[in-house]
Symmetry: C2
Subunit: 355 residues, 2 copies
């Protein structure tokens, strides 16, 4: 297969972890006789530094021409500490999601057998957890109109959803549930928010089309608790943009490290794959960033094109690295000199020479 892949490493630890994912994809291409071409582009703080724009036109154009996008992370501490900044790295990512209409963010949360003891949660609590989170990604309060009064004393954000926005991702989530344990949990705050009540009505209306899926509802505050108390109760979780942001980062505690969580962001015409950990600037350039989330994002990229054996091989290599403790310090207690690159090298080697 020929794949034209746009590579947007971004800021912080983005470049170093994405370098490992690209290395792994190259190994896959060689092993399976695919032709993957990679086109780098700027986004985030590094793009602001270079062009003043967190998402330059050239980057949009490279992404639009690509079959898939591999995305690192964006963000920079100086912007986080400055609530007055007008241009922000995050705008690059939000605009990219919107421009490419990547409306469904899909995040697997899996408790790896070899990492059960790494979690802050008790082993018995998380063993066998396998959740798929469907987070709406191009609407809601992150994209709604923002206002700031002239004197700077009143600020507002609008959370708006339309029926269509809810329907399209709800269909994906129902279908995903059908291919899994057939349980779908809609997380909202329908007892208080009008937009949540729209979500609940629309999902309720679609449910008869998926009679084999058991649908239930949960309020976000309650879900934040239930996800920790009893994560195994969940199969597919469907939720709006901000609730999905919160829940999926929280869910990383089940996996043991946020450095393991991959994601796919899917639209009708485009697809982007990214680790959920963010720029984590203070870890940048130290060789301590965990590349697994990016490498598993590359596996999700291969899934997307039906390259199941290729994706499975990457996952096998990752499992092996975890079993042998070839992992960065966030996971490692056994060896203390395993760098970001070494993890990538191990997985690359495994792909070239699987046992």
């Amino acid at each position: 297969m020929k794949l034209n892949i746009a590579v947007l490493p971004g800021d912080g630890i983005g470049p170093e972890v994405i370098a490992q994912a690209v290395k792994v994809l190259k190994a896959i291409a060689m092993e399976f006789n695919h032709v993957f071409t990679f086109h780098n582009a700027l986004v985030g703080a590094c793009a602001i530094d270079k062009s003043g724009d967190p998402l330059p036109e050239e980057t949009i154009s490279i992404c639009k021409k690509a079959d898939a996008i591999l995305f690192g992370a964006i963000g920079k501490t100086s912007y986080d500490l400055d609530p007055y900044a007008k241009v922000r790295p995050e705008q690059g990512l939000l605009k990219l999601r919107k421009t490419l209409d990547l409306y469904a963010n899909i995040r697997p949360v899996i408790a790896y057998e070899d990492l059960l003891t790494k979690s802050s949660l008790k082993k018995t609590q998380i063993k066998d957890t396998d959740i798929l989170i469907y987070r709406e990604l191009t609407s809601g309060i992150y994209f709604g109109e923002k206002t700031l009064s002239e004197d700077g004393n009143i600020a507002s954000d609008i959370c708006e959803y339309t029926r269509d926005e809810v329907e399209r991702i709800a269909h994906l989530a129902f279908k995903a549930a059908q291919s899994r344990k057939r349980k779908l949990t809609l997380v909202d705050k329908a007892n208080v928010l009008e937009s949540s009540r729209l979500w609940r009505r629309v999902v309720q209306e679609l449910a008869p089309q998926y009679p084999d899926v058991k649908l239930r509802y949960m309020y976000i505050d309650n879900a934040a608790m239930e996800l920790i108390i009893n994560p195994k109760q969940f199969d597919v979780i469907l939720t709006e943009n901000m609730f999905g942001d919160i829940l999926s980062e929280e869910a990383s505690v089940i996996v043991g490290s946020i450095g393991l969580l991959a994601s796919a962001s899917i639209g009708k015409d485009h697809a982007m794959f990214e680790p959920i950990h963010g720029a984590y600037t203070k870890a940048a350039n130290k060789g301590i960033a965990n590349p697994i989330a990016s490498i598993l994002s590359a596996a999700m990229l291969l899934d997307h094109f039906g390259l199941d054996d290729e994706a499975a091989l990457i996952r096998e290599a990752v499992d092996k690295s975890l079993k042998l403790h070839i992992t960065t310090p966030d996971l490692n207690t056994k060896y203390d000199n395993i760098t970001t690159t070494k993890v990538g090298d191990f997985i690359e080697d495994f792909i070239n020479n699987p046992d």
Copy 2:
């Protein structure tokens, strides 16, 4: 001291847990020679059933005349399942908070020594956790304007904050931090939300007035993770309405049961005390509801009036009940016949005859 206390048991398990709190307050009054008078009033689904209004005028009037309000819980499953309902129990609570201007919701999160093993989190993770959450309670997206298009296909909610709304609760949180470990964490989503940037600016501006308090910022998605990974890093958490709702329910996993979490909602002229667990309808009238959250809310009520010895005695009684496993099934593994009333009776007895 003479105290006129409005009692709003509400729905679900509200009445049975509040009955225990009232019993305990009566025991305190007798033991310390106070005169506490109690005035019951309706709120929530039970008020809708009786009068069509989740917050009848009479209830408002009783609350306004009272020195303090003891509140149970509201909510009913039939409303949760009906996204079309125009009148909802929750409106009663939201309106009450707004009418009495109870802008600061204060929630202690304490890992009880005798319950460390009850949590889904590892004991080492939570031991010595002692967090105080300041949640803004009368503004933000729960109170912002809601719209639904005529065809029912577009729904929106506005999250708005003013400088004054942020300032008044921020001062309370800074002061609380001064009397504790002098660490304040503002939780927001300032990288995306305009309202969060207002929070960050205002809190940044107030910080120089509290030079002994170490202030830091955390995004809500990250905070949802950090609260589980390393809860001991937090002292006082300050946040807006919805983020506080989510974080405080999530924080209950540290304590071991949401049935233990008390709260105070404070305004300039009024103060209300309530368990955070909600109506939990399916547990109602079974004698299994944990009354401790309500009883500890009564202790916070006494704190509010400077009745420190009285509050301390309640807490001592609660600790004793936990140590002796005189607890409802959510906490109990030792005895299986300890009802809501029995826990209340034990604490009442302890107050009348402390060892």
